[in-house]
């Protein structure tokens, strides 16, 4: 009998430990790409996940970071390389290009007009929707620093957080779904 009780308490603490480790109903996504198609896919998945009742975190890193620049903001005090990256990379969602069939920009223009015709939300609209739905956005500090981006030139977004790899891993560890796009 005593043996049974002992086993029961052991089981109870075991279950408690398991419950603590159970992943939350959350999606953690790395947006590595600055291609229009991939960023669009990221936002479709992110907003869809909120609709499914999930908590969503998007981590923008490397080529993903220029997508979050504000087209109306410009900052001074950059070195030559910073200026080069700044000029050559897209400034915000309206400047991103297709990963395939860009054809010197023509493909992207055609895709945008097709999207409008078929009522597919544009990246600008998706970003607004994400904000409205409470999708959290994190930006990789190291990528920004590497390309010479400053915090002052990023878009206005609620709780835009600048972070490193540990923050992503913490979120990913307790997420049911993790994606790299």
């Amino acid at each position: 009998m005593q043996n049974m009780e002992e086993q029961l308490t052991k089981l109870k603490s075991h279950i408690e430990a398991l419950e603590k480790k159970a992943p939350e109903n959350k999606l953690s996504m790395i947006v590595f790409s600055g291609d229009m198609d991939k960023v669009l896919a990221s936002f479709v998945i992110a907003t869809g996940a909120v609709a499914m009742g999930m908590d969503v975190v998007m981590f923008f890193t490397f080529w993903g970071t220029p997508v979050l620049r504000d087209k109306n903001k410009s900052v001074g005090g950059k070195d030559l390389m910073g200026k080069m990256f700044g000029a050559m990379l897209p400034k915000g969602t309206c400047e991103v290009k297709l990963s395939k069939m860009n054809m010197g920009g023509m493909g992207t223009v055609m895709m945008k007009s097709l999207m409008k015709k078929k009522n597919v939300a544009s990246l600008e609209q998706m970003l607004e929707l994400a904000e409205e739905l409470g999708v959290r956005i994190f930006i990789c500090e190291m990528s920004m620093d590497l390309m010479g981006f400053k915090r002052e030139e990023m878009i206005k977004y609620p709780d835009l957080t600048y972070c490193g790899v540990a923050k992503f891993l913490e979120e990913a560890q307790n997420s049911k779904v993790q994606l790299f796009i």
Binding site: V44, V50, A51, M52
Partner: protein
């Protein structure tokens, strides 16, 4: 034996592609009480698989699905 379903809210989602039908329905369902029913009309063929998946994950219930030409009508009961 077709019983009329009492609808509390109608959502017109015609012409909206993915992910909008699911996003809008997830918002719309919060505007009715638990136990009430919304009627959502979608023209996105993807909705046929998307709505049941959404309902299963969120704990809501699709009472009936009707296809009328290019439009799909869903009767969704708020359970959660």
């Amino acid at each position: 034996m077709s019983e009329a379903i009492k609808v509390d809210k109608v959502m017109d989602l015609k012409g909206l592609p993915c992910p909008m039908p699911v996003v809008k329905v997830s918002k719309g369902i919060k505007e009715v009480e638990v136990g009430q029913v919304i009627e959502a009309i979608s023209s996105d063929p993807g909705s046929l698989t998307d709505f049941p998946a959404w309902a299963r994950t969120t704990g809501n219930e699709i009472l009936k699905t009707e296809q009328d030409g290019e439009f799909i009508k869903f009767y969704i009961k708020r359970n959660a």
